[in-house]
Each structure stands twice: as C-alpha cells, then as structure tokens.
Symmetry: none
Subunit: 189 residues, 4 copies
C-alpha cells in the first residue's frame, strides 16, 4: 500500500521539474548545483534524488518534456506559434534546449536518446510539411529535408538570439514573413 497517492507523486514530480527548469534556465546545466535546485524546487536533496536518480536524468527528463511541448505547440499553433512561444512562455525552455544541444554534441549515446523522443510529434510535423509541399502551398524545388533544416535553424537560432539579452522585442512577425517568403512557391507572385 503506497503511503501517498499516485497523484501526490505526480504533483511532486511536476513541482521538481518546474523548479528545476527555472534553475537550469537561469544558471545553465553545469552551474546549477544541487543547492540551487533545492532552493528553486523547495525540496531537499533526498526528495529530489528519490524522483530522479541523478542531476543529468532530471535535466534530460526536462529537456524531453520541452522538446515534446515545443513540437506540440508547433502542431497546434503553427511555426509562427512555436516561434512566438520561444520568445514568451517557453523562454526558459529555450535555455534548457540550448544546454541540451550542447550536451548532445559531446555524447553520441545522448544523441541517440534525444532522437527517440516524441517521434509521433516529429512525424506529424514532417507529414504536415510533406502534404503542404505536395499541395503546392510551399515550394517543392528544394528537398523536404532542407525545409526541415531551414525551419530548425530558425527555431534554434531564435533560441540562441532571444537569450542573448540584447533582443528585448524580437520582431517575430517580420521573421515569420521572411520564412513565408523563403518557402513560398516560386510562381507565387
């Protein structure tokens, strides 16, 4: 018989993830020591490490959530919506995402793990663009892969630039217009 309800555990888990996101976003993965996690989360080491075995696992769980969340935002509100989210609600997520990207560079095992996150969402996005391409909504003279690379660059690049600090009011609308123009079929006058 569990002492606490399953809901309680889920609630605690959420509390830990939320606090951890704030800490990781503010200090970065490596500069976030356990003391800072404790403070940001409001629980002690023991509690935190009973939900996640290591600091890295906690971080990865977070990054995983974020990757899925960003993908779902993209699906639900379109690319523009994803961009806007990056500069508003998901700002902290962008920090985590950046750290994750950096960790991925160095560790092939992590890369594998990363690519297996939320495959359904990734495929849904891909299939949407494939359809748009076939329907002629977006140009089809560049490979679909390149379109993905392009959009990924914009997303990731915005994550970096929005964190640089000198971008208070990012002109997302302008950016979206440029992206639209880039992907518009050539004959669209």
């Amino acid at each position: 018989v569990p002492k606490v309800s399953e809901e309680h555990k889920q609630e605690r888990r959420r509390q830990i993830l939320e606090g951890a996101r704030r800490a990781f976003a503010e200090y970065g993965y490596f500069s976030t020591n356990v003391g800072r996690l404790e403070k940001a989360i409001g629980l002690s080491r023991g509690a935190i490490f009973s939900y996640f075995p290591t600091k890295l696992e906690l971080f990865l769980a977070l990054a995983q959530d974020d990757k899925r969340a960003l993908g779902e935002t993209w699906l639900e509100h379109g690319f523009e919506g994803a961009l806007r989210a990056l500069t508003t609600d998901h700002r902290d997520r962008a920090g985590v995402y950046l750290d994750a990207s950096r960790l991925l560079r160095s560790d092939p095992k992590l890369r594998e793990r990363w690519s297996s996150i939320a495959p359904d969402v990734v495929q849904a996005i891909e299939s949407r663009y494939r359809k748009q391409r076939q329907a002629g909504t977006i140009r089809n003279d560049v490979p679909l892969e390149t379109v993905g690379l392009f959009l990924g660059c914009i997303l990731d690049g915005l994550a970096i630039q929005s964190g640089a600090g000198y971008l208070r009011d990012v002109d997302v609308s302008g950016l979206v217009e440029l992206v639209r123009a880039a992907l518009a079929p050539p004959d669209a006058t």
Copy 2:
C-alpha cells in the same frame, strides 16, 4: 632581455588557442578540464596559465577570435561562405560559439564584453546590407534589424544543427537558396 622571442610567444599563444579549441569543441566548456586542455595543447598547466590567467579567459579569447573570424569570412565570402565555413573549417568554432552563447545567457557582464568584440567587422556587415537594401538587391519592406535577426538565426541555428551529429551532409546550397528567396525583393519575378 626576454628569454624567448616575441615570435615564439605568439607561436605558443596560437598553439594554446588551437589546442584549446579542439578540446572545448569536443567536450564543451565545462567538461573540458585542465587535464584535457593539457593533453590537447601539449603543454603543462604552468605554461597554459602563464598565457591566460584562467580557463574562462582562455575560452573567451578563443570565442573572441572566432567571432571576428566568422565575421571576416562573412565579409570576404558572403553569407553563403560563412555558412559553408560553419560546416567545414569552422566546425570547431561552432562548438565554442555555442558554449559562448550559453555562458552569455547567464552573465550580463560577459554579454557586454561580447558585444564589444570586433565592432568594425560587425559594422562593415551591417553597412553592406544597408547598401544592398537601398540598392534594391534585397527587400526593403522589412526592417534591416529583422534581416539581421533572420540571418543571425540561420547562422546560429546551423551551428547547433551541424553539431547535432545527425547532419553529415548539410544541404547548404538549398539553405542558401531559401535565404535568397526570403530576402529577394517582392517584385523580383
């Protein structure tokens, strides 16, 4: 009377920076410990830290060099050249650049320092796009700032994606074509 010639010191400095770049690119700033620096550089702690007071200063000197180098490549070989460089010769630079971006997020003092690097190159690039905009080579219905944001996103984004590892042969040509289309004047049929 100095023990070694000035040239020798410059040579050593270059040796240290080159080795450090390899190490930082492979492991990331935080996971590059001094032992790895020693091994990658081929010198001892004593030598390394007689040229740079701290690991951070060494890293920043590197990032500074890279920011300028990328800017100069951009000036000399155009945006496409800069993109290609990122995926070929400058690949290691991209890793350093990514780490720098992450460090910048957390530290306002570093941000200030970063923005004061190579202002001449930055201004030269800006003025070039301003002229192109006035000449009608690129569209003028979006602010110059937004063009900068767009190009910056592509560059930074490519830096992230090229390091992710699953991009062996990046379709830079396709990417360039999309960028061209994005910036082309609307009436260019």
Copy 3:
C-alpha cells in the same frame, strides 16, 4: 525535521574543534592541509566543511575559543594560573594563539575581528588590575596600560618559548616571582 539532534551537532562541532586544534598546534596554520585536518578530526572534508565554511573560519573559531578560555583561566586562577595553563593543558592553545598573532599582523580586518572577541573577559581582567592598583596591592607609579603590556608580553613570550621545545620544565614559579617583584609597590620591603 533535522536528521540529527542538536546535541549531536554540538558534539560534532566540539569534535572538529578539538581535532583541528591538535592539527593546527602540531603543524601550524599553513602547513595544516585539509588531509591532516581530516585525519586529526576523524571526519571527511564534507563533514568538516559543513560545519565551517573555510579552513580560516575553522581556525578563527578555534582561536576565538582559546582567547576566551585563556582569559577565563586568568580570571579564575590568576595570572600564575594562566601561565601554568600555557605550559600544561593549554599548550596546544599556545600554538594556535601564535599562528593567530602572525595572521593578525598582516590583516587589519582580522585584527578588528580579534579585538572584538570576549570583551567581557578582557574588561573583567582590566578592572581587577585597576582595583589592585587603587588598593595599593600593585605599584601605581606606572600606567595601568604599561602593566597590561608587561603581563601580555610575559604571556605571549611564554607561549613562544614554551613551544620552542628546548624548554621542557619551565620554571613558572620563578617567573611568577619575578613578575610579582616587578609589580610590587616600591615601598614594599
């Protein structure tokens, strides 16, 4: 809910201070590295530095205790008692005291901190000698300050000499007699 009782913590604190005193007395402040502290205390770095933030703070806490303890011995057993204690029970304290004196020379901030230790005891000692001076028990043709300087020199000097090692059996009785003669009223035949 704390894991261990308050008593346990006090006990641990005492254990650390006692071990640290042995180590500092034997090797001196600077030659007492953390490994020696661990060995002398019987706890690990983690434990020690969870009670005292730095080696210096640990040392200062110790010196503070000692200054107060010596003063209280002086009050309770008189100057002779303090002298005897220095050569017997407080021998380790003398070593710590000597190191503290040396540290104080170089650092004004430490000096200030030092002078604010156990002011009640210091004042009690002062007032005792003031009364003795007024009562004619000790000579009053030298300023009270000079008496303090004199006694302080004897105490500090004995701390040095007793540690020099070549003084196994210090003639404290003779020393006390000389001190008595020095302070006796001139007309006391």
Copy 4:
C-alpha cells in the same frame, strides 16, 4: 676567473636579504610567494634562487641574521636598547622572528639548527648576566636560567604585541622600569 667581483656578489646577497625581509615582514612566510619576493627584491626568480637554493633557506638566512643582529644590539645597547630596537628599526625583524618561532615549533631539525646560530653572542649575553648576578647588580635568588626565560619572554612578547597593530606608542620606558624592578636585588631599597 669570476666574471663579477666578490663585492658584487655580497652586494646582491644583501639586496636579496633586505627585499626579502620587507616581503616576509609584510605578508608572513607562507603568504610571501616568489612573485612577491621578486617584486620586493627587484630581481627575478633565477637570480634569487642562484643565491639561495630554496625559499626556506632564504628565510632562514634572514632569520639567522636577525637573531645575531638582535643579540648584538642587546650586547651593545643593553636590554633596553634591544627592546627599543624591536619597536623601531627592527620592527620588520620582529615579523620574521615570529614566523621563525612558528616554524621552529613544528620541526625539530630546524630547532637544532636555530640553537646553533650565533653561539658566541648568546654566550656573551649569558656571561654578562652571570657576572651581574655574581656582582649583586641583579638578584641571585632565582636561577640564571629563569632570568633568561624572563627576559626572553619580554622580548618575544613585545615582538608579538608590537605587531598586533593596536600598539602605536609602546611605553618601552615603563616596561624597562618593570623589568628593572623584577631583577633588582631584594634588599635594594
């Protein structure tokens, strides 16, 4: 054939010792790193270490000089002269002396070495007090050794106290009077 004269070498040696004294007095033995020595002396590592094999040997040579110098001052100007010198010209020497005392505590080999310094001067001082004792100038109801302990305590104690900083104008005259009274024959009315 030596390139430089013997005088030059002696001069250099003196320069090194003088600079080193300033540095050691200001920072203490352990906090005086070689960089500070270089600055205080005006020579580089290489030069310094060609005259003294290690930092410790340089320090000991200094302390040795100081012990002899203080003894000679004592012989020449009496105990009062030695006391006054400690608070004026020899102030820096006091710092070195204190460090030496601390080092001696921990190292028996150093102790032996220390006690073999300037035996002639030490014996001259001893014999002077032996004569005074026999002549009845100072009391003879305490062992000569105790007199030595007493005077040593005063000297060492003053070295400590004069460095504490809160003693700007030390009442040496008063101190001397107390010492005189302590050693005066009992029947001296």
